[in-house]
């Protein structure tokens, strides 16, 4: 009988269970076990370094002044210095990242505002272009009728010229928007 367990690395951890340790064996069954007194169902875990912290707090002046005490405290100071340096580096990196993100945010806001302004101008140009082409088309459509009338021919020529100008203007506006 084996426990079919594999590690994340794929190592086979299957362990043959000796005959005397099969499920029917009493060694792995709770029957006959004695409750461990003074142990709560949920135990409060402390940090692996907690015992050192307690020991440091309980150091007497003489103990702290002894060579071993000085070595220990010096080592602890060095450890804290290293931690402090590592945290400073991390803080500096985070600040740089924050600055970069803030700059990027400002750039994006400028870009958005610029696009908004452009879109506003673009709408005005669109309306103007539409009006020019519409008016030009009306003039272009109506002028041939008036060209046939001798009294209105001169006026029709002007309307025709203005209409052509308006249509060209409208097209140019649409292209350049």
């Amino acid at each position: 009988m084996t426990a079919n367990v594999r590690s994340a690395r794929g190592d086979d951890l299957s362990v043959p269970v000796p005959q005397e340790l099969t499920p029917s064996s009493s060694a792995t069954e709770e029957t006959g076990s004695v409750v461990v007194t003074g142990v709560a169902v949920v135990q409060v875990k402390e940090s692996p370094r907690e015992f050192l912290r307690a020991a440091r707090r309980n150091l007497t002046g003489d103990e702290a002044a002894s060579p071993a005490g000085i070595r220990w405290l010096t080592h602890d100071v060095e450890r804290l210095d290293q931690e402090c340096a590592a945290l400073r580096t991390e803080l500096s990196q985070l600040r740089e990242r924050h600055d970069l993100l803030q700059r990027e945010h400002t750039d994006k806001r400028i870009e958005v505002e610029s696009l908004k302004a452009k879109s506003h101008v673009s709408l005005k140009t669109e309306i103007l272009s539409y009006l020019c082409i519409s008016a030009g088309s009306v003039g272009l459509g109506a002028s041939p009728k008036y060209l046939a009338i001798p009294e209105a021919a001169q006026f029709a020529e002007i309307v025709l010229a203005v209409s052509v100008f308006l249509i060209l203007g409208g097209i140019v506006l649409r292209v350049l928007k």
Binding site: A3, V17, A27, T28, V39, Q43, K45
Partner: protein
Amino acid sequence: MTVEITSVTSAGDLNRERVVMKASAKGNIGTYALFQAISSDDGLVLSGNIPYAYWFADKDINRGDFIVLYTKQGTQSEKKNKDGTTSHFFYWGLSSPLWTSGTTPVLLSAPDWQFGTPIK
């Protein structure tokens, strides 16, 4: 790792379902955690979401000792075996069986850890 999983016994039967581990050296079972991990199709285990985890309480164990983690509720207990070893019984405190098809027990050795700030 000085503790190894030897078997999952009586899977599906809440009253008897347990993971049996054995210590190969003296140590503290409080530096181990057991995961109920999801099995992958190729027989390995998936990282990421771990549905259930059990972090053992601090307790000294000796070479040859058994560590038995029951799925059900119960109070931590122990018993001496004929060969001089001790069986240590822990209880997950769940109300339904844990070891169903597609799950794999993973024993994690965690000799060091760090607390974050408690969320208020």
